[in-house]
């Protein structure tokens, strides 16, 4: 009776206490996803509130500088709240409201999903509580204050590695504690079914827009679509529309931290093994006894020991490839894009920019790469300054 499988991955590995809640969520999703009123309401919010469609921008200077493939940037950083996370939050919070829930909770790593959830909660009049690893509340202090401004309560999680994984643990624990009036707005294409499917669907607007914008601008599909991958929501959103277009190469860029061959890494496909955790069967960074590894990346949003089950399956089937990108490469790309195009990317998105910088020069000039620029980098400026040895604090 397993549901929500992607190849061998996925499933619903959660405590019995939550089973009725996730079944109820699945039923609500199936009921509303094609409901004309719901679709119209979400569509209006996406246009009028989030600012969609986001631009597909031809990065001409970067293209000429790298001297190879033509590079387009999908500007999810221009969404309201500064990242792609809002797409999913609008969808899930609207659903939560339809389900009669009055309170939402969410985990956050870099704070982008927390900010997006707090934003939509404010808009729709929902009570909101965010769980964030204590380490991340320090790395992303600005986003913590932003969430508070938006009326959310922020809980600093002091267990485990005090990062994204622990924030998910704590949000799940809180959900088992108070499920009747509360919806857990999971922020990535991970966790138990139906979350990987629901989040993918709400994020798939990214790929749909890329496709139509690309057809309009170039009259053809791109050769490569690439995005950074932690849990994998912006990548899945960008990839999904192109899975059937087999000539479009899909590349996910994982956070390698200090290097995929060091213990200070979060590159799940490169270094992980099959496991069952956080509600899903997928790949995880872990030891031989199934203890989850304390992963590391400069990017709080990619600092996660697992990956969404649909990505794990795309990796198994070879439909998408996943590459590790180090802290140093990502910081270089962060600075490069700022200087070259006047766009400061989120350090998460900079992982994809870094890999683009590697492959674009090796490709012919008539090839086209789309990089999903999942978020803006204002939140990272202080951390990057510190990485470069400057004593700058938020």
């Amino acid at each position: 009776m397993t549901k929500g499988k992607f190849g061998i991955h996925g499933g619903q590995f959660v405590p019995e206490t939550l089973m009725n809640a996730i079944n109820e969520f699945e039923e609500a999703y199936n009921k509303y996803k094609d409901d004309p009123e719901f679709v119209a309401e979400l569509d209006t919010l996406m246009r009028e509130y989030a600012g969609r469609p986001s631009l597909l921008y031809y990065a001409e200077k970067m293209t000429k500088d790298l001297g190879g493939a033509k590079i387009y940037l999908k500007r999810e950083d221009l969404n309201h709240t500064g990242s792609h996370k809002l797409n999913n939050c609008l969808g899930q919070c609207l659903l939560a409201k339809k389900m009669g829930k009055t309170r939402v909770i969410a985990e956050t790593g870099a704070g982008q999903h927390g900010v997006a959830t707090a934003t939509v909660a404010a808009l729709l009049g929902l009570e909101c509580e965010i769980f964030m690893g204590k380490e991340d509340t320090i790395r992303q202090a600005l986003n913590v204050y932003r969430m508070k401004l938006l009326g959310a309560k922020v809980n600093a999680v002091e267990t485990g590695t005090m990062t994204l994984k622990d924030a998910v643990n704590e949000a799940m624990r809180e959900w088992t504690n108070r499920v009747s009036d509360t919806h857990y707005v999971l922020g990535s294409v991970m966790g138990p079914h139906p979350f990987p499917t629901v989040v993918r669907d709400f994020q798939s607007v990214i790929g749909k827009e890329i496709k139509s914008q690309m057809l309009e601008k170039e009259g053809r599909l791109p050769d490569v679509v690439m995005a950074c991958v932690g849990g994998g929501s912006n990548a899945m959103g960008a990839f999904y529309e192109f899975i059937k277009d087999e000539n479009v190469k899909l590349i996910g860029c994982e956070a390698a931290g200090l290097g995929a061959d060091t213990p200070k890494t979060a590159a799940t496909i490169a270094t992980g093994t099959l496991g069952i955790f956080h509600g899903m069967k997928s790949y995880f960074c872990q030891n031989e006894y199934g203890q989850i590894a304390p992963v590391y990346s400069i990017s709080a949003g990619l600092d996660y020991p697992g990956i969404g089950p649909e990505h794990a399956n795309l990796a198994d089937t070879g439909r998408a490839s996943y590459v590790p990108v180090t802290d140093e490469e990502a910081v270089n790309a962060f600075e490069y894009l700022s200087r070259t195009e006047g766009i400061i990317p989120a350090i998460e998105s900079a992982h994809a920019v870094a890999h683009c910088m590697k492959i674009a020069p090796t490709m012919d000039k008539d090839k086209i790469i789309v990089v999903n620029l999942s978020g803006r980098g204002d939140k990272d400026v202080a951390a990057i300054a510190r990485y470069r040895g400057e004593d700058l604090h938020d």
């Binding site: 499933g11 405590p15 019995e16 009725n20 088992t176 509600g279 995880f284 989850i292």
Partner: protein, 256 residues
Amino acid sequence: MTDIKSAFQNGKAFIPFVTAGDPDLETTEKLLIEMSKNGADIIEIGIPFSDPIAEGVVIQEADLRSLSAGTTTDKIFDMVKRIRPQIDAALAVMTYMNPIFVYGTEKFMAKCQECGISAVIVPDTPYEEKHELTDYSGKYGIDVISLIAPTSHERIKMIAKEAEGFVYCVSSMGVTGVRSEITTDVGEMVRLVKSVKDIPCAIGFGISTPEQAKKMSESADGVIVGSAIVKIVAKYGKDCIKPVCDYVNSMKEAIS
């Protein structure tokens, strides 16, 4: 050496939980032997997990202490196998799906059988996913214990029909941990189970005092206590054997 079924034939069953390797495996070894002598009918041995999402802070910290001390699944199995002849109580292991899956589910079940462990309790593996365990457990005679929760409602009968060993009735919302009050109608949960299957029901989550245990035992066949015991272990460390045994004794007495 008792099995699950006969563990419920000595009046109401008292089922204590300990995290293996907290503070070290030598202490766990003594605890298993002595708790069995002092009224434990089934002992739940917790195999620590780095990210125990169904546990409250007391057992989370115990898992961390144990893992930091170098405890591994193999070391736990080795210890249990060695001392099994000295333990009268039935044994169950409680852990999460990942430590079992990564160990190799079939190998894990075979090891349980080899060590005289009768059942596994896996709180993050609900009815819909239990095949991950039952595909291998039957061959080695291991019961996969089903949990039902205050939110289970119409799912209870479906779960009970396929339940093995005993049914673990989760008395409270949320994670494991001591609670001052339990408001769930556990009697109703037990009635629903028994309406479809003649199987023992044990109540856990939140129980700490003899009074609570006595009250809970009136509606069920057994009482499970975890965090209250782990708290004693945390307080006394290696010297926890006597205080834990006194506690186990008082709990068994309260429900007898």
